[in-house]
Symmetry: C2
Subunit: 526 residues, 2 copies
């Protein structure tokens, strides 16, 4: 797998337009030496632990049969997109109005041309990641219009917040992607916003980033800007953006999402086709019913990418939560959506598509124990399910309405734990530690033994945030809660941030492109 | 499995000494009707989801071989217990001083007489639980000398706190056991304390309880009091107490623990033989090294119960945490102990012993996001590992130094989620929900559909503590964090507590026994 990335990088570097530089490693080492920055960025997770599977063969086949029944009998709507309907008719589907009915097996057959795994390229080749197989890639929160800032204020997000979250994701060792809409910069006109967002990802990070999906022309802008960085040919032949295409569940794809999907698929960029499910509202209240609908929606939406361009990368996405049956409010980290996500991961593997689910989801308004329990329930599940792309892995608060600086820091620490967990178990002679057991013997301790001394740097994950001191020490240090420590660490990181190098000619070309595009548009705030 | 419990109960009720009464269900329904109490208690978890396994066959065999090497070559110390050494010599072990060296396979052979599963009887037959197989039983925190009370004070625990935690465990729907030392009542002399503790479990709860292990005579008192409740014959032939026998890791069993173990095994009561491991101090810093030592210690300690009484119930216990390599302080909820516990569960299943690990462990001083993340990491693992007995499932704070009321409430809510998760997936026609998908169709919603209406009461776990309201509603309600809601709910529960019925004659017999025993002892506070 690593070999594939190296090959791709080599061919890219031959293209000659990629920004060169010392890379993330050196900058992080500098920051770390100066005492306040995080450790170096880690490569994407390569899971060495097994996946956890909740469905057996009979259950999987039943859901697959039922999903085909949904596709055939009920159908999926492709709204306000004559081209899509024509393409489906041509592919052999039965189109009635905007409702597409699929012959059993058609979608699954079309998906055979989609790649099982692919490389998502970063402008710094060291930061490129694999999507699929045993790889897991963490990406930050996506979409919130609000932030909870370091002064404890809940307010609308700005482009400054956006840049800050890009910087934090760049610095977080176990964050493998710069993400997409890390928050909505509502101080920038809505029709121009995407330009500043894409630029921020390129300028302030060198990790792989996501493209704009809110209109086809914004998707085109994303591709155009990516070409200024990676070169035209490279972009047309490789994945440099991953793009979130939500289904309008139940069983609808709308014009906006289809428009963005088509742009990205034509340029060989990856679509993450994700039913957005609050069970009880957008899907049935049962696990099997929800999985059936998710599979049907993904089959329809993902196979559509192959009608646009065979071989274009596409992910099986799932956003699963429930609603409170009392208030109708979304709930997160509860058992039922976990079972849904575990099952969806299995369905994706059988379909041969990389799988996306979230993430450190929660409904809490503050980064308290509720936020942590809900996030942990989601994140532990995400790792064990064998998820390949984990959106909302850090910073998500309040049902996704808020990007929280403090929660980002707490979550990214948990991502480090997940990454360590995924490394699995060392069965070497050193891992077996028989000599250590012999050296220490009954009634003694391992604190100073030679095996402990030799391994203590790497033995255990080290959290920069958890407090394990004595009560008395904790008292002396001001009885701080973890969010207070997270606040302080976040300020330190932002102080120590250093931008990754970017070729000044590329930087200028991007700025010129943005200016030209902005000049062509009126300001629009809605 | 349920049948076995019913049979056992019948034979017990024939004995005629068990307390009768309306049972927990009726009391809970009354409390619930009055508006403040929890829902009814649930039976122990019967897992319908698969276990998660991190070790393959080769890995398991390697650890088993290495553990036999530890037992044979290094040996295990049985300290200050001539009887134990004599029994081992008689069983064929090579005893040098206090060091016992075991021929390969001896311990495993001895353990063939230990039951794979058994019933742990409660004085209310409805509350009896199975230990082993696909059963999971949650029990509260064990051991803290301090409490963090409902006024936010951290102080020494009292017998009043002890009673409160027994009451809370009795009321918590997904707490299946009353536990043991839910906190140390330090206002009672240390040599008399166990009498009040055992009495509180019997008086204020009707869930199964744990016995005293701090001295052989205290274990004898536990058995004697249990006999007043269950009858002599019943106790000698059935498990009515589960007892925590910690190894003095590495590779030592001390006089105190051996003394208690011998008493309980002679009376057919269950021992939970638990290496207490902070990796890096009591075991090597590696997962495989730690598992090897744990297996060796359990093999020696658990098989010793069979030398005392063949067929007496015994659990494979594991308490796994790590230490900070900077400060030496214990750390909880980190990845490496999770891998240890997953592996230990597999080793226990291969040995044919029920498995114990914990629980909602954390190092935090307050029930903040650190506490929750660490607890969730431990608890999710515990469930998926297939743990049979989960000690410290609620209330544990500050590395086990503190029993926290607020954290107990937060944790017990998580236990409810675990229990719902373990129920697995419904594949019935209702679960498949095809009619619902047909009824709703593309672009509509499931909120009011007939399937949702029919299932909404049971579809999703309902948390009494999480807040999922709008931000504005949360603001109006005082911007409460989850621990504030937990505090209020805890007060309400304690106000609504009603004791389960206890035969006055048994109650008096217990009080008389306690008085007689206390009168025979001086007060001792150390």
């Amino acid at each position: 797998m690593d070999e594939k990335i190296e090959q791709a990088e080599t061919s890219n570097e031959g293209g000659g337009r990629r920004a060169r530089g010392e890379g993330r490693g050196a900058a992080a080492r500098r920051a770390s030496r100066s005492g306040g920055g995080p450790g170096p960025s880690l490569p994407y997770v390569q899971r060495k632990i097994p996946v956890y599977e909740v469905l057996d063969e009979d259950g999987l086949q039943l859901i697959e049969r039922n999903a085909e029944t949904v596709l055939e009998e009920i159908g999926i709507e492709f709204r306000d997109d004559a081209e899509a309907l024509a393409l489906w008719r041509e592919a052999g589907a039965d189109v009635k109005g905007e409702r597409v009915h699929f012959p059993r097996g058609l979608c699954r057959e079309l998906l055979k041309t989609a790649p099982k795994e692919f490389t998502w390229h970063a402008r710094n080749p060291e930061r490129s990641v694999r999507i699929g197989g045993n790889a897991t890639v963490f990406a930050p929160v996506y979409g919130p219009p609000f932030v909870r800032d370091l002064d404890g204020q809940r307010r609308y997000a700005t482009i400054e917040d956006f840049r800050n979250f890009v910087k934090l994701a760049y610095m977080a060792p176990s964050m493998h992607s710069s993400g997409g809409t890390v928050c909505e910069p509502v101080d920038v006109p809505v029709n121009k916003r995407h330009l500043d967002m894409v630029y921020s990802h390129i300028k302030y990070s060198d990790k792989p980033f996501m493209g704009s999906v809110t209109a086809p022309e914004r998707a085109e802008d994303t591709v155009a800007m990516a070409k200024l960085v990676f070169g035209d040919d490279f972009v047309e032949n490789n994945c440099v953006t991953l793009n979130l295409i939500n289904a309008n569940s139940p069983m609808v794809f709308d014009e906006t999402m289809l428009g963005a999907l088509k742009v990205y698929a034509r340029h060989n960029q990856a679509s993450v086709v994700s039913p957005f499910i609050l069970s009880g509202a957008m899907s049935p209240v049962t696990v099997v019913g929800t999985l059936t609908q998710i599979l049907a929606e993904v089959l329809a939406g993902a196979s559509f990418t192959q009608l646009i361009r065979k071989g274009s990368p596409v992910l099986f996405g799932t956003f699963a939560a429930s609603i409170s049956m009392q208030s109708g409010a979304p709930t997160f980290g509860t058992p039922e959506p976990s079972l849904v996500s575990y099952g969806a991961a299995q369905l994706a593997r059988r379909l041969g598509l990389p799988f996306r689910t979230g993430g450190s989801l929660c409904g809490s308004k503050v980064p308290d124990a509720q936020a942590a329990h809900e996030s942990a329930a989601t994140l532990n599940m995400t790792l064990l399910a064998g998820t390949n792309f984990v959106l909302h892995a850090a910073g998500w608060l309040e049902g996704g309405l808020v990007s929280s600086y403090e929660k980002f820091m707490i979550d990214q620490d948990q991502l480090g734990m997940m990454q360590k967990m995924a490394m699995g178990i060392d069965f070497s002679a050193d891992g077996q530690a028989m000599d250590a057991i012999r050296e220490v013997g009954p009634g003694s301790h391992y604190l100073g033994c030679s095996h402990t001394q030799a391994n203590f740097q790497t033995a255990f994950y080290r959290s920069p945030l958890t407090d394990n001191n004595s009560f008395e020490q904790w008292e002396i240090e001001g009885e701080k809660r973890i969010e207070q420590r997270a606040n302080a660490l976040c300020r330190t990181w932002l102080e120590h941030y250093e931008a990754p190098p970017l070729d000044p000619a590329i930087d200028q070309a991007l700025l010129d492109y943005i200016q030209k595009r902005k000049d062509s548009m009126p300001d629009a705030f809605t």
